[in-house]
Symmetry: C2
Subunit: 189 residues, 2 copies
């Protein structure tokens, strides 16, 4: 079983027009993705933001649930918040996960040109010994090409069964589904 971490990237990501932007941190992303990551056994959740004030905000949220009144009120929130690591760049997340070479697995709502990795094969690959893996989710309208260009693997998009193909999941929902597909316990039924 490889060490698997998740990163939520706020820069460089795309806006609706395809321009490269920096998005703001959404408080509930921190909670939801930390809880989903921890439930499915991931050890690290990197929140990546280049702006110091935004990183401070994320660290304050973390502290509230680690040692503040949140920790006393709802102690179940403390273990997932322990996985949260706030860094200024994707490179910093890779360094923190090292010293081995870390594989970058990107996610996207759209099929790209490169062949994507199916979840069944991905599950198998993660069970085998190997280098750590960082699964990267974008905010806004998705990862900038300079990030997707660094991908060792591109996970299959989560496809809608609808005839019109509508798929606009929140990043919170997409992350939960991805972790379940990669690590979820499947019953016999």
């Amino acid at each position: 079983m490889r060490r698997v971490a998740v990163a939520l990237l706020h820069h460089p990501v795309l806006d609706r027009q395809g321009e490269i932007v920096t998005t703001a941190i959404t408080n509930l992303d921190l909670h939801d993705i930390a809880r989903s990551a921890h439930t499915f056994g991931l050890l690290d959740f990197f929140v990546v933001h280049p702006v110091g004030a935004q990183r401070e905000l994320a660290n304050r949220v973390r502290e509230h649930w680690m040692t503040g009144s949140g920790a006393r009120r709802i102690p179940d929130r403390t273990p997932p918040m322990r996985t949260l690591r706030v860094v200024d760049s994707l490179g910093a997340a890779l360094l923190a996960l090292g010293p081995e070479r870390v594989e970058i697995w990107t996610t996207s709502a759209k099929s790209g040109g490169a062949p994507a990795l199916g979840y069944g094969e991905a599950r198998r690959l993660l069970q085998e010994p190997g280098n750590p893996v960082l699964i990267v989710f974008g905010t806004g309208w998705g990862l900038a090409p300079e990030v997707s260009g660094k991908a060792d693997r591109i996970l299959e998009p989560i496809v809608s069964p609808r005839a019109d193909g509508y798929n606009h999941l929140s990043v919170r929902a997409a992350a939960a589904i991805t972790f379940d597909r990669l690590f979820g316990v499947r019953g016999a039924g």
Copy 2:
């Protein structure tokens, strides 16, 4: 294929001590569950709240994305918001889905006494002809016994692969995973 809807219940639900309470609406629940439900082909998302002012809040959020400035800014949000129906009780949701008898399928993070329905079998049941199904999610610390007692089926809990069994998913994450398990397109990989 049966008509499948989802309900998010704010009353009667349990608090941490197991008392029956009414929870407040979380704005992002409306967005996330509407987007996940619509992506996976569900036609109706009932938000159930007994308090008029809370229903009004949910309807205002809906209007913002249906006809307000939200609809102009991010038109992709409009189709999911169309599925949102704000009602005062679970009974009202069942009536709105009728006139046929509606099956109630409940969800829970914990295994109960009754035998649970696995997702593989649930997928098959939903593809067959039959009565409409309402999948019910609780807020707070889960559905009150008077609701779970009405269940025609109880969906298997989403189980953690962790040794300590920690599973505290947000209701937004649990709903996304449930829809994916019931309706998600599985690649060959």
